[in-house]
């Protein structure tokens, strides 16, 4: 069975979403929610946790592949995601293992600049 590629744009990442994720995942590094702190530390603003970007892509991948089919998922963090960034999430099946497991290549880029913020992979059970 051929699976259509994943190709979606997210809503803009917001400070509210970042704060929601801080609470959800328990990451209270002030660089992610305390604007004066982040700016004083040299960042242009607060920025998303890598795990938030991983979760956004992971959620899209689960919808794409089917939640009960995801056997593995991995990401590498490449660049900061800032408030108002729209992410372009892509995925495609690159190979099929002997047992029918589909191996997928994933990426998240900053829409507009096409800068890669995250690369990843997923495996889907047959």
């Amino acid at each position: 069975m051929t699976l259509a590629a994943l190709d979606v744009l997210t809503p803009p990442v917001t400070r509210t979403q970042i704060v929601r994720f801080a609470g959800a995942a328990g990451d209270f590094n002030p660089m992610h929610h305390d604007e004066p702190f982040a700016v004083a530390a040299g960042s242009e603003s607060v920025f998303a946790m890598g795990q938030l970007t991983a979760a956004i892509l992971g959620e899209a991948v689960a919808e794409w592949l089917g939640r009960d089919r995801v056997a593995g998922y991995g990401v590498r963090f490449k660049a900061k995601v800032l408030p108002d960034d729209v992410l372009h999430l892509t995925g495609r099946v690159t190979s099929v293992e002997d047992d029918g497991t589909q191996v997928c290549e994933l990426s998240a880029t900053r829409s507009g600049s096409d800068e890669v913020v995250l690369t990843g992979w997923a495996k889907a059970r047959p």
């Binding site: 997210t10 809503p11 979403q17 929601r20 994720f21 609470g23 959800a24 995942a25 328990g26 990451d27 209270f28 590094n29 002030p30 660089m31 992610h32 305390d34 702190f37 530390a41 040299g42 960042s43 946790m49 890598g50 795990q51 938030l52 991983a54 979760a55 956004i56 992971g58 959620e59 899209a60 991948v61 689960a62 919808e63 939640r67 009960d68 995801v70 056997a71 593995g72 998922y73 991995g74 990401v75 590498r76 963090f77 660049a79 900061k80 992979w121 997923a122």
Partner: protein, 166 residues
């Protein structure tokens, strides 16, 4: 190996810490919304979101992790994470596991790369999720190809609010 000799390197097999947490409906709903997902779809599916094990941070002391690994918190970034899913786990299950050093590499630049693997088991002992995190300590003053500290990721909470915020 030409790596600098003054970098503390843990042994492979070193147990960093242990964690145990319940899978809760409210936390699942909160996590799904924060991830841009449809919480009703997630709850109806009965399958944990792929990165849900991140909530273990609520039950861990990340500052202690940095301390026991003798890392310099100012230079620590998380390079990536990956998850493998085994036995199903859902609301009502409790996941328990150790975080173990499973790979150690020191580059000639002085960059230290650790792989930390957490194997989360259900109460019946079946492995539900295996999570591997790549923790990087960049050399002082950065290095070619190294991540700049502030553009890197601290998603695992490697830098605790206490250590930087107050």
């Amino acid at each position: 190996m030409s790596a600098p000799s003054d970098i503390a390197t843990p042994d492979v097999g070193f147990v960093v810490d242990s964690v145990s947490f319940p899978i809760e409906e409210g936390k699942l709903r909160e996590f799904a919304i924060a991830s841009g997902g449809d919480p009703d779809a997630v709850l109806a599916a009965g399958v944990l979101p792929p990165t849900f094990a991140a909530v273990a941070a609520h039950w861990r002391d990340q500052a202690a992790m940095v301390r026991v690994l003798q890392l310099d918190i100012r230079r620590v970034v998380v390079g990536g994470s990956e998850w493998e899913y085994g036995a199903p786990a859902w609301i009502g299950d409790r996941l328990t596991g150790d975080r173990v050093v499973t790979d150690v590499a020191v580059k000639s630049s002085g960059m230290l790369i650790l792989t930390l693997t957490t194997t989360l088991r259900r109460e019946d002992g079946e492995v539900a999720v295996t999570q591997r995190d790549t923790v990087i300590q960049v050399p002082p003053k950065g290095s070619p190809g190294g991540l700049a500290l502030r553009s890197g990721d601290l998603a695992q909470g490697a830098r605790s609010p206490r250590s930087v915020g107050s």
